[in-house]
Each structure stands twice: as C-alpha cells, then as structure tokens.
Symmetry: C2
Subunit: 97 residues, 2 copies
C-alpha cells in the first residue's frame, strides 16, 4: 500500500496545486490573474505564494503595466521537477487505491 | 485547464488521504493501527478522524480487545463514493497538468 512517502507537503492544498498547475503552463502569471483564476483572497494567495517562493519552487519579479505596479510569478526548474515528482506520487497513490 | 472544481477539501491533506486509503482497503482499523501506519501523533490523528466523521465519511465503534478499550474506524458508503470522486478529480487534474 502506497502511503505517500514522497508526498510533497509544499503542494498539500488545493490552492497550492492550483497555483502550480497555472504556473506550469504559463511563462509568467500576475498576482491578480492568479487571484481571479483560483478565486482566492489576496491574503490567502499571498501566503501560498510566499511559501512556494521560500521553497524555491517559484520566483517573482516586479514590473509596471502602464503606470500600475504588477508582480508576476514563474515556476522555477526546481519547482517544475518537484511538482512533477509530486504528481507522479499522487498518480501511484491513486492507482494503488 | 482543470482547476480542481470537484476537489474535496475533506481529503486535502496527506494525513486525510492516508487515513482514507487505509480504511478503503480494510473493513475496520483501530486508532493505534492508523497511528502506526501513518506515523501521526494522537492529537493530529484524532483531529483528522473527527473531521472525516463529521463529514459522515467514516464511522467508529468502541470495543474491548481483552480488557483494553479500543476504537475502530470504518469508511462509510458515502465516504467510499466521495473519496473515489476525489481520486477521479485528482487523476483528471494530473492528466491535465
């Protein structure tokens, strides 16, 4: 029985799975776009993004769209690898269930 | 892009996935066996079990093993269905990632 030994707690919540899946298929996504896509509050999204950033799974840069400051996020190579490993573990778990 | 619309938050954590997967393949499992299998603390396991019970996904009964009281847990039909739906959603999500 697979008890998720390689389950990565950095991706444990629905929000984290959602954030990573959006960033995996886009070069970079703004905070506001993530908020809209994932229907999260500012505070909730910021907390999840900070944790993923501290884990070096995502990076961000500040830029201006017109005169408006905007933060855009991207997945790092390390994040891509860790997330793929996590999905593989979930897939093995599902198959074993 | 699948954004986990049918993701069931009752199964959001590694512990909840572990508990359900053990109960799905056993008629009933004791608190101590679950604790050992999943390497959880008493408090942590009790919290997760209470939440799953309140969601009617698992049930429990108290019995004696020799003179020792023991609580055993089982998955309910509702729990089986909800967990299978959750795993299907995760599988679709993984395939879409």
């Amino acid at each position: 029985m697979n008890l998720l030994q390689n389950f990565n707690k950095a991706f444990e919540s629905k929000a984290r799975l959602g954030i990573m899946s959006v960033l995996m298929v886009n070069d970079e996504v703004s905070f506001n776009m993530l908020k809209e896509l994932l229907s999260l509050t500012d505070g909730n999204l910021a907390t999840h993004l900070r944790a993923l950033e501290e884990a070096s799974y995502i990076s961000f840069k500040k830029e201006f769209i017109g005169r408006k400051p905007s933060t855009v996020y991207s997945v790092t190579d390390e994040g891509k690898q860790a997330f793929n490993e996590h999905l593989n573990e979930l897939e093995k778990f599902i198959k074993g269930s």
